[in-house]
């Protein structure tokens, strides 16, 4: 019957199952290509130019990269700060695990406690940054008051001192990030197989050994996601720096994303080409991680497909 009426039916009707996914994909693919995929390549292209964002682009080849990697002090500071962010931000994972273990109980009101602990993640980073910058105020800030009591005096306050400023900002960033990791682990702990735990308990496992050999292996998916979001968060860090120090004091808190922004849209003229080159370097740092994430996810998918 289908062949008899095929002539009368539209092409779409005849190929419905093959054509539908593409019809559904077109708007999403169009937007995503226009605003995300294509701009990545454009940035590469722009990074080989000198460009003020308005006039003509001038081809300069690798000059931007030569300048960047050939002893740009601001770039070096930014790069090493990014490494600091990456390493220290990962502390959010064990800290989140620790809090989730503390909260994984069934007592009256525990649900409310869990949401209150998660609270910092919901607040915008701009506000968290502001709050911490008041917390760190020299002399009047609560932090200075408290460490002053035990005889520590950081000249200029945490954020005013080039040696401590970056660490102060990272600590502020760790607050919401730890909350995020905590919620991931709480969900993971909920799904831990109780029979395995009981069996291990009968075998005499408890405390740290139980955690290491029985619990953590089962929390692997949660750890993976915590790792992904923390790495991405560390490399994207911008809001905290912009709000808390604006890159200072003496440029000591710049990271690549901030430096890139500064160069591209600075008050001293727009250097889009140089900014794009910085973004490309950041992209390559990220690429190693992206590759690893995608590979892990792809292996899962292939198993399921």
């Amino acid at each position: 019957m289908a062949t008899a009426t095929a002539g009368n039916r539209s092409w779409y009707k005849r190929n419905e199952i093959a054509a539908t996914p593409w019809v559904f994909l077109i708007p999403g693919i169009f937007m995503f290509s226009l605003y995300v995929i294509y701009p990545i390549f454009q940035s590469f292209w722009i990074s080989f130019h000198e460009w003020d964002g308005l006039g003509e682009k001038t081809w300069v080849g690798l000059a931007n990269y030569e300048r960047l990697l050939g002893g740009d002090r601001k770039f070096e500071t930014s790069f090493w700060n990014n490494i600091r962010w990456l390493v220290l931000y990962l502390l959010a994972i064990p800290m989140g695990l620790f809090i989730s273990l503390f909260l994984n109980q069934k007592v009256f009101g525990i649900r409310l406690y869990k949401s209150m602990f998660f609270f910092p993640f919901v607040i915008s980073q701009v506000v968290v940054g502001l709050v911490f910058s008041w917390f760190y105020l020299p002399n009047d800030g609560l932090f200075d008051v408290l460490v002053g009591k035990i005889g520590i005096d950081i000249s200029g306050g945490i954020l005013g001192n080039p040696n401590t400023a970056t660490y102060g900002i990272i600590a502020a960033g760790l607050w919401p990030q730890t909350a995020y990791c905590m919620i991931l682990y709480l969900t993971g702990l909920n799904a831990v197989d109780p029979e395995q735990v009981e069996a291990a308990r009968l075998d005499g496992a408890k405390g740290a050994r139980m955690l290491w050999y029985i619990i953590l292996p089962q929390l692997k998916p949660a750890t993976f996601i915590a790792f992904v979001v923390t790495i991405i968060g560390a490399l994207r860090s911008f809001d905290f720096i912009a709000v808390m120090t604006n890159g200072g004091p003496f440029g000591s808190t710049r990271v690549l994303s901030f430096y890139m922004f500064e160069e591209s849209l600075s008050e001293f003229g727009f250097r889009m080409g140089y900014g794009a080159a910085i973004a490309v370097v950041l992209f390559f740092i990220m690429l190693g991680f992206i590759g690893y994430f995608l590979k892990s996810m792809y292996q899962d998918e292939k198993g399921a497909y």
Binding site: L25, G28, P39, V107, F118, T187, L235, I278, I290, F293
Partner: protein, 282 residues
């Protein structure tokens, strides 16, 4: 259950635990508690150096009133609403379609497209900054809410597609098969069979995208300027330069700016957490 359920431990530890909970929470939220107290203090407390003590008088109505009636804050808040709500609708709509296409149909390139969406979502978005700003300028959308909304929709589609597609794959495929046997068109299957089953995913994504976009700062300062179109995250920084060192007003402003996602979170907690922890359990 791990750690050992508290009910099975000694009475001593049970009491200690119950006492410990509020104390640890208070320490954890100390910065927020401080701001909340800041926001109801009178100006005089800060000039007198009474930063961290009790407020000498309660100026809650006064401070919040000033923020609401004597600053650009309401405009910024309204801008945020007009940026966030269309983005949520757009991103959820687009990604329910892409998620449906990638989750239900088997075709060549399916996994590849799926992974392009995921990968794009992982890139440090600074690499998009210069071209996206240029594109927005050339579309004549610089410093407009629409310009910001379009970018947000596009970028969020990456994460949302990942979410939707994985959700749809968990649905019973037999339902779709049955509808096809009945001769229901694919388009109607999407609207009448799949969409109703996706309500939890739609809710989760809506609150998540709402929070992400409301809290966005980077794109707000890249694509907009000034109180005509800037959202509240960007507004709060100019608000602060206007009231430099007026901590009581700055903290009242910050609390107002932070509040909508917080309310959203408490109203839709279950969905919010289900969305954020997607994939944390296999």
């Amino acid at each position: 259950m791990f750690p050992t359920p508290i009910a099975k431990t000694t009475l001593q530890w049970q009491i200690t635990y119950q006492l410990l909970l509020p104390i640890v929470l208070a320490i954890w939220l100390l910065p927020l508690i401080a701001v909340a107290i800041f926001s109801i203090k009178p100006d005089a407390d800060f000039t007198n150096g009474n930063y961290w003590g009790m407020p000498s008088s309660f100026e809650m109505m006064n401070n919040y009133g000033k923020v609401f009636f004597e600053s650009d804050m309401p405009r910024y808040l309204l801008n945020s609403v007009f940026i966030t709500v269309p983005t949520v609708i757009g991103a959820v709509l687009l990604s329910s379609m892409t998620g449906f296409a990638l989750g239900v149909y088997r075709f060549k390139g399916n996994l590849l497209i799926f992974f392009v969406f995921i990968a794009g979502n992982f890139v440090p978005f600074q690499i998009l900054m210069v071209p996206v700003r240029d594109l927005t300028l050339s579309l004549n959308l610089y410093d407009t809410k629409i310009g910001l909304v379009l970018f947000h929709i596009a970028f969020q589609t990456g994460f949302c597609t990942l979410f939707m597609r994985n959700f749809i794959r968990q649905l019973p495929f037999a339902l779709i098969e049955a509808a096809r046997v009945e001769g229901v068109s694919e388009w109607r299957i999407f609207v009448y069979v799949v969409l109703p089953l996706m309500k939890p995913a739609l809710a989760a994504l809506s609150v998540l995208v709402f929070t992400f976009i409301w809290n966005d700062y980077f794109w707000a300062i890249v694509l907009t300027q000034g109180p005509d179109s800037q959202p509240v995250t960007a507004g709060i920084t100019s608000f602060n330069s206007q009231y430099r060192a007026a901590y009581h007003l700055m903290s009242a402003g910050s609390i107002i700016a932070a509040l909508p996602p917080v309310v959203m979170f408490f109203l839709m907690q279950k969905h919010f957490i289900a969305g954020l922890t997607l994939g944390a359990v296999k």
